[in-house]
């Protein structure tokens, strides 16, 4: 069995039809991880005991000849920002290096209820803050397509497991592009669902109004099947919406004839890499060939998205990260003479440079005298960015853009310039701010052989149309990608 070619459906079918067992599949993946992940660094923690327990449960079901749940036996990886009961959960931070979570995130228990086998926890930028995975408190991840390059971030480990074939599907979180951008850099599919579609319960918070859990897969279908398992209202997250979850399997495979595809010139400006431009324009032509109507639209406030994002995300982060104080869990440094001395020593030692930078920026924009000028201003511009999309979606069904302005950059290339790093998210932050769904699919390769991603954005809670368009584009572009 070639593990690199396994998909969600083929893994499940292999277990259902007794070509293999869930236990044997888990064995094979752990062997591959042990042989190959050292050079990639995608995993931080393996949870074999838990994986084999679940595999045994699936094998028992298969032995009885019962029909199997939709993800039965599918080996998956989980970004280490989701809590996993009795398994180390670090958020990529030294401040949580020894944290053993006392409960499961909703997405984790839903995946296991659907039959998935959780192999382990994946590396990421510390507290999901970064665009290259170089901010991991442990070690960077190398892009499996070119090991001298970054896998993107912050869910770089989860994207890399799919590109390296060390998991069939995985989970990430997207706050400013952290699923879609690494999907583009690693040449895999990454889906950010609508805000409120997937529960954040057990997702270690970075920016609560922007954090979106979502899946990675080799194919659009795999991403859709993963979404099916995790989507829907959760009483434990009051921001999840009580909106019916359609059957995504039925939606994909539908033609795109008559659908309107919006193309905004703001995403194709002079800063865009010429090879990325050519690949995405080719993808748009393929959608036209497939029967979609291409409509020019405008998203005029796009140039203001990055500054808006870095005010709101850091403000929320400075508040969310106040909880790491050495009292209830995590690192504690020095007893100190006073409580506040202990807080400061703990936080100085536990947080990395980027996290400190964002806590400082967020604290500054919320501080007396600057709140209106920065935080409230950014919230007003957020309304304008959301309105741009509202307006566009009265004219079109989806919007197609590049996912990132360049293919994967070299390790170390941007680590000294935080602003240059932030601009890697220029085409992805807008959807997080508006809360709309988006997917990145591979749409070609650069001359150097680096993957290029195409982004498809849709209306709130209309992942079905996004997946449908992505599926048609994926098949039309297969020759360019592989």
């Amino acid at each position: 069995m070639n593990l690199d070619l396994l998909t969600v459906d083929s893994a499940r079918t292999a277990v259902l039809e007794k070509e293999t067992t869930a236990t044997a599949l888990a064995d094979a993946f752990y062997k591959k991880i042990e042989a190959e992940d050292g050079a990639i660094g995608a995993y931080l923690t393996l949870c074999k005991e838990r994986a084999y327990r679940q595999a045994a449960r699936i094998d028992a079901l298969a032995d009885k000849g019962d029909d199997l749940p939709p993800l039965a036996g599918v080996p998956v990886a989980i970004k280490d920002v989701f809590t996993t009961k009795d398994v180390r959960t670090t958020a990529g931070s030294k401040i949580l290096a020894d944290f053993i979570a006392p409960y499961d995130a909703t997405v984790v228990s839903r995946l296991e209820d659907a039959g998935a086998i959780i192999l382990g926890k994946t590396n990421c930028d510390e507290f999901a803050m970064g665009s290259s995975n170089e901010n991991s408190g442990f070690h960077p991840v190398h892009n499996p397509r070119d090991r001298t390059r970054v896998p993107g971030g912050s869910s770089g480990g989860s994207a890399a497991t799919i590109a390296a074939g060390t998991a069939v599907a995985s989970l990430g979180s997207d706050t400013g592009g952290s699923i879609r951008q690494p999907a583009a850099f690693c040449g895999v599919v990454g889906l950010m669902p609508t805000y409120g579609r997937v529960s954040r319960y057990g997702l270690i918070a970075f920016a609560s109004s922007l954090d979106h859990p979502g899946p990675f897969g080799k194919t659009v279908r795999d991403a859709a099947l993963m979404l099916q398992a995790i989507a829907g209202r959760d009483p434990l997250d009051s921001t999840t919406a009580d909106v019916p979850v359609p059957n995504y399997r039925e939606q994909i495979g539908q033609p795109v004839t008559g659908l309107k595809v919006g193309v905004p010139p703001e995403y194709f400006d002079e800063g865009l890499d010429s090879e990325v431009r050519a690949a995405v324009e080719f993808g748009i032509q393929e959608l036209k060939q497939a029967g979609a109507e291409v409509v020019p639209i405008s998203l005029p406030h796009t140039p203001y998205a990055i500054p808006t994002y870095y005010v709101i995300a850091t403000a929320e982060a400075s508040s969310n990260l106040a909880r790491y104080d050495g009292v209830r869990y995590g690192l504690r440094v020095g007893e100190g003479k006073t409580l506040s001395e202990m807080y400061r020593r703990t936080r100085d030692a536990g947080f990395g440079a980027e996290v400190k930078r964002r806590i400082m920026l967020g604290t500054y924009v919320l501080s007396a005298g600057y709140y209106d000028a920065y935080y409230l201003k950014a919230q007003r511009v957020r309304s304008l960015l959301a309105r741009d999309f509202d307006e566009a979606f009265t004219k079109v069904d989806v919007i197609v853009t590049p996912t990132a302005p360049t293919p994967a950059f070299k390790l170390g290339e941007k680590t000294d310039d935080p602003l240059a790093m932030y601009l890697a998210d220029i085409f992805t932050v807008t959807a997080d701010l508006a809360g709309i769904p988006g997917i990145s699919i591979p749409c070609g390769k650069s001359k150097e052989g680096l993957p290029i991603g195409m982004q498809i954005l849709g209306r709130h809670f209309d992942e079905a149309t996004v997946l449908r368009v992505a599926h048609v584009a994926e098949h039309a572009l297969a020759a360019k990608v592989y």
């Binding site: 053993i100 006392p102 805000y195 409120g196 109004s209 009483p235 009051s238 919406a241 009580d242 406030h301 140039p303 203001y304 990055i306 500054p307 870095y310 005010v311 400075s318 106040a322 009292v327 209830r328 869990y329 995590g330 690192l331 504690r332 003479k337 006073t338 409580l339 506040s340 001395e341 202990m342 807080y343 400061r344 020593r345 936080r347 100085d348 947080f351 440079a353 400190k356 930078r357 400082m360 920026l361 604290t363 500054y364 501080s367 920065y374 409230l376 201003k377 950014a378 007003r380 511009v381 957020r382 309304s383 304008l384 959301a386 935080p418 602003l419 932030y422 508006a434 809360g435 709130h460």
Partner: protein, 100 residues
């Protein structure tokens, strides 16, 4: 412009100490990022409502946001204390609380 004094003030609010080296770097980075953020002032937003979160714009689940105030199972004390760096088995322990 952010000054060295601002860096100290904000570090204090954020419960960070920061080394001298980190402070120099922070001053440079904050000024560079805030300089970029200043482009938001090109926009007139005097008649635009601030948007704090997504769900409120779409009005799902009107009136259902509040749940009933009922006792529900929660983490047992032992579990809640399991990750505590220092505890006496009943409470979290902290250094003496004396304000700076």
């Amino acid at each position: 412009m952010v000054s060295e004094k601002d860096v100290s003030y904000v570090a204090d609010l954020a419960h960070l100490e920061l080394t001298d080296e980190e402070r120099i770097r922070m001053l440079k980075d904050l000024n560079s990022i805030l300089g970029y953020i200043d482009r938001l002032n090109q926009l007139d937003t005097s008649n635009v409502e601030p948007m704090a979160q997504v769900a409120s714009r779409y009005g799902e689940r009107k009136g259902e946001v509040m749940r009933s105030d009922e006792t529900r199972p929660s983490l047992p004390r032992e579990e809640a204390l399991r990750n505590a760096p220092v505890s006496d088995g009943t409470f979290f322990k902290v250094p003496k609380v004396i304000e700076r």
